[in-house]
């Protein structure tokens, strides 16, 4: 981890006042899962207990909460580290202020998709499979055949038209059409 790396030079980040969106925290507070973001007092329990932060040099949940409070919206949404959270919910259970950090990360990811039009490739692929087949993995014919051989009941055929309708009415199909994807997120 970076704290132990003594040779690393510290380069302070300059934040221009114009980058700050003072209304952002209020907008976030209205989103399901991010309601209590303003209660974060930066104790760092989330980061100390985060399994991803243990092995990533820059994924820090505490910093995400602070950046939301400051209104650094664009930096947050464009930072690919946002996609490193494994949603284990340790931070949610351990926060003394009841802030749901994993919920905040999820809200920010939804915003990155909707406002910035970016998404890791893997999720787009899963979504496409889901729209086509009702499952996020396209289950090959050979697998279905094997089920019969193994004495398992046939897999039900999902109602794909209903699934597609859900993608349409929630606006998700439209979002997915225009997203730019990226394959990998660095952790160091």
């Amino acid at each position: 981890m970076s704290e132990k790396n003594e040779t690393r030079e510290y380069v302070p980040t300059v934040i221009k006042a114009g980058e700050l969106d003072p209304k952002f925290k209020y907008k976030m507070s209205k989103m399901h899962g991010a309601e209590k973001v303003m209660a974060c007092f930066q104790c760092g329990t989330c980061t100390a207990d985060c399994p991803i932060a243990r092995f990533s040099e820059f994924y820090r949940p505490r910093r995400i909460a602070r950046m939301v409070q400051l209104g650094l919206k664009d930096r947050l949404l464009l930072d690919k580290a946002l996609w490193l959270c494994s949603s284990c919910f340790t931070c949610v259970d351990h926060c003394p202020q009841g802030v749901e950090i994993a919920g905040i990360v999820r809200v920010l990811r939804n915003m990155a998709v909707a406002d910035k039009g970016i998404l890791p490739l893997v999720y787009k692929e899963l979504a496409i499979n889901l729209m086509k087949s009702g499952f996020v993995y396209e289950i090959p014919e050979s697998r279905l055949q094997k089920r019969t051989e193994q004495g398992l009941p046939p897999l039900p055929k999902p109602d794909v038209s209903q699934v597609m309708k859900v993608f349409e009415v929630t606006g998700s199909a439209h979002l997915l059409e225009k997203v730019q994807t990226f394959a990998r997120v660095e952790s160091k």
């Binding site: 284990c88 340790t90 949610v92 999720y123 899963l126 499952f135 993995y137 309708k165 998700s172 997915l176």
Partner: protein, 292 residues
């Protein structure tokens, strides 16, 4: 008392690549008198779509819940991810009237309505709460005496506490108790509740591999002969990916990873074929020699 009856929710990853979990679970549930009804026309639980659009996840999960409501049966999920999204959505929509109205406006387009009349349970809670320890104990005919294993419950059967609210996320005991009923010893190890890392493997392999490697080291350190899981994603991380983790760190673990119903099935006298033990990547040779 009549036998418990559930709709079995398989999700995507179990039929896609982990039928050993399904096969063994069906075997032990049937023997314990749990009645299983196939879930008709279900779709993905919604979990992987939460990152794209929260309302999409809620609506996909709610569609499955509506099917269960129509059938008048609770859902039994084998996968931690499915349990997470279905259980959470069920609780959120029952409590949050405004959000329920919104999701119901989407569901109306496909002729459905969430009413809040069903329940979602994970396999370990069906076994511990509905079947009961006594009944499982009585079904054990070949106690696995002398076998030492460790458990990995996985995140989403424990956390977030707010929605799961069953076992203690800091010191989970349900799976341990279930393991002890088989006659095997369940060993404690460091950081038992730590995540397997699998959820982000699609964007970055380095971090999940380090997380899984650390877990395998901790389990090995206490001398466990196998790790027991109850989630397909955790199982893939520790079993299927174990050779890749070994190569990445130039280590040798050779630690078998069994689905809990496989362990219980062995203690109930099922054969290796009946429990699809041969489908495991890391062969539990030492453990099986002790069972014979």
């Amino acid at each position: 008392m009549s036998n418990p009856k559930y709709l079995l929710f398989l999700g995507c990853v179990i039929p896609y690549r982990l039928s050993s979990y399904e096969i063994s679970a069906r075997k032990v549930l049937a023997k314990l008198g749990v009645e299983i009804v196939e879930m008709p026309e279900y779709n993905c639980c919604g979990y992987p779509m939460d990152v794209i659009n929260h309302e999409l996840m809620l609506t996909l999960a709610a569609r499955n819940l509506c099917i269960a409501e129509q059938a008048g049966l609770p859902i039994l999920a084998l996968c931690n991810g499915c349990f997470c999204s279905l259980n959470e959505t069920n609780k959120i929509l029952k409590e949050d009237k405004k959000l329920r109205e919104k999701i119901n406006s989407y569901l109306k387009e496909i002729g459905m309505e969430f009413k809040g009349t069903t329940e979602v349970k994970h396999l370990i809670y069906v076994l511990s709460e509905d079947v009961g320890y006594e009944k499982i104990k009585n079904a054990v005919t070949k106690p696995l005496i002398g076998i030492r294993v460790a458990q990995h419950s996985g995140c989403h059967v424990l956390r977030p506490r707010k929605y799961v609210g069953r076992d203690d996320p800091e010191n989970p005991t349900t799976l341990k108790e279930l393991i002890r009923l088989t006659g095997a010893e369940c060993l404690d190890y460091m950081d038992e509740t730590a995540c397997c890392g699998n959820p982000i493997i699609g964007v970055n392999e380095d971090v999940p591999f380090q997380m899984a490697k650390e877990k395998l080291e901790h389990v090995r350190a206490v001398g466990a002969q196998a790790l027991i899981t109850v989630c397909p994603f955790c199982h893939i991380m520790f079993d299927l990916n174990q050779p890749r983790i070994e190569r990445a760190f130039n280590e040798k673990f050779n630690l078998p990873v069994l689905h809990y119903p496989q362990l219980l099935g062995l203690a109930m006298g099922f054969s290796l074929e009946e429990l699809a033990i041969n489908e495991l990547r890391v062969k539990p040779t030492e453990l099986l020699n002790m069972v014979k």
